[in-house]
């Protein structure tokens, strides 16, 4: 039985899914290892469109913002255009520009971007070559999805020392590595998207966070009037869960700007 098949890996810390939240796909919603995603941006470069779509869907269901590219040249173009990504998932056998060449051309300008290579080449020499070229980790296809998620988290964790595991504002506490939020001892169940919103807010306590920032950080999409509506919808979900009737309000609307998290 593979690691993927091990139900123990899925058992702890289930994420309660709010069925009232629209557009939530929760394919692996109870996977515990994914719960620190908080809208990190992942670029998937994989020429197999089906596989890229599958991985993208599963990662998005965990709250990651995902883009998919199917050839090496286009991937390099996007990465060189200074688009910020937190992690690159890279197939080696790519049309136009192979994965090894892509890493080699990328590293001078983006030495810190974590690169996780996905390859069907099982020879040790191929993995060594990828790692020597600048990849941070390597996973051989067919891999277990749970292992992929764990490795993604490990690479992101390695690169995100500035974000503390625990943040507080008033009696609200967020434990990022457990994806756990409590207020005055009350456990608050959040969907991955809601968690990502609150995470951004808690990293900016006392400062207004614009809708555009939330769209970019949580959804990885450019601001537009129709898109900002979804921020308001999700912010209401978060507010309804964080600020119960009778409790001091922590989430505040900043008119014309966005939202702010602070103690009244």
């Amino acid at each position: 039985m593979s690691g993927m098949d091990d139900p123990q890996l899925y058992a702890s810390e289930p994420v309660t899914v709010d069925s009232s939240s629209p557009n939530q796909t929760n394919s692996l919603a109870s996977v515990s290892v994914i719960n620190r995603s908080a809208a990190r941006r992942i670029l998937i470069v994989e020429d197999d469109v089906s596989l890229a779509g599958f991985l993208g869907g599963e990662l998005e269901a965990q709250g990651f913002a995902v883009e998919q590219i199917h050839d090496g040249e286009e991937a390099l173009r996007i990465l060189e255009a200074k688009r910020r990504f937190d992690l690159l998932l890279l197939d080696l056998n790519l049309p136009k520009l192979d994965g090894i060449s892509l890493i080699q051309r990328l590293r001078p300008t983006q030495p810190r971007l974590p690169v996780l290579v996905l390859t069907a080449r099982s020879r040790v020499e191929d993995k060594v070559k990828a790692l020597e070229s600048g990849a941070d980790d390597c996973l051989t296809k067919p891999f277990s999805l749970i292992e992929l998620l764990a490795r993604v988290q490990a690479l992101l964790r390695r690169n995100s020392g500035v974000v503390p595991n625990c943040s507080t504002v008033g009696d609200l506490i967020m434990y990022r590595d457990q994806r756990r939020v409590e207020r005055n001892g009350r456990r608050i169940e959040l969907t991955p998207r809601e968690f990502a919103i609150l995470d951004v807010m808690m990293r900016n306590v006392g400062r207004p966070v614009s809708r555009a920032t939330l769209l970019e950080e949580v959804w990885n999409i450019a601001p537009s009037e129709s898109a900002t509506n979804i921020v308001d919808v999700y912010m209401k979900y978060v507010r309804d869960k964080v600020d119960l009737p009778g409790e001091p309000r922590l989430t505040h609307t900043v008119r014309g700007v966005g939202y702010e998290l602070r103690v009244a």
Binding site: M4, D5, P7, S27, L28, K141, F143
Partner: protein, 234 residues
């Protein structure tokens, strides 16, 4: 008695009669391509089955993962069939006999001509007048033609027009707009199958990736068969 083998070949023992077969390096590379191609659907299948083992899922999630699994199993079956065909072509001689080329290829093209509603791709077939009699293994040729046509479609985008020219002794598939799509490992396997099937009949196969152009010819009846199969120009 010594038997000269092409360079870079492996000799695999056959347990039944003790004789060996030589496996050209090119065939090994093609088989490796096939294995690489299978890794993609296997990864999705593994993920889908793993996801279905989770305790908390809705019926729609179940349905989605079951459908996904079925699709990937279908892909795997197709890939295995192509690998099997590739080995069959490598292991057995073509049985060539005189054939009217246009008659042979006409039946294959019937299902492909015109608008292809699912993909939004249009295939325009033109026949040059003078069909020749070629020396061909009919079954192997039809298999290669179908694989080539399927690949041309798979690499085309919505709105593209694939021009199919039926030559006196061959076929040319061209998509002037088919730029920018590289071959993935599944498509390389199909291309290998086309090449192997045509080359085993002493025909020629030429492939240009960008813009897409695949042309094959078969030896004309009565001609001296001297040509080697051309390599793909990728």
């Amino acid at each position: 008695m010594s038997c000269a083998l092409p360079e870079k070949t492996l000799v695999l023992p056959l347990p039944r009669d003790g004789a060996g077969i030589a496996v050209p390096a090119a065939l090994l590379a093609q088989l490796a391509d096939g294995l690489h191609a299978m890794a993609q659907p296997l990864t999705i299948l593994r993920g889908a089955i793993g996801a279905m083992q989770l305790a908390e899922r809705g019926a729609s999630e179940d349905r989605r993962y079951v459908d996904m699994s079925a699709d990937q199993i279908g892909r795997l079956c197709d890939l295995l069939a192509n690998l099997r065909s590739l080995l069959d072509v490598a292991q057995s001689e073509a049985v060539c006999s005189p054939q009217d080329w246009h008659d042979l290829v006409g039946g294959v093209l019937e299902g492909y001509e015109g608008d292809l509603p699912t993909s939004g791709v249009r295939m325009v077939v033109t026949h040059l007048n003078d069909s020749m009699r070629v020396l061909a293994d009919a079954a192997r040729t039809e298999q290669a033609m179908r694989a080539a046509l399927d690949m041309a479609q798979a690499l085309a985008s919505h709105g593209d027009e694939i021009r199919c020219r039926v030559l006196p002794d061959g076929l040319e598939l061209r998509n002037e707009h088919g730029r920018g799509k590289g071959l993935n490992s599944s498509e390389r396997l199909v291309l290998s199958l086309v090449e192997a099937a045509i080359c085993s009949q002493q025909g020629t196969c030429r492939f240009i990736e960008d813009p897409f152009c695949l042309s094959v010819t078969l030896p004309r009846q009565g001609s001296n068969i001297t040509s080697d199969c051309l390599e793909a120009v990728v």
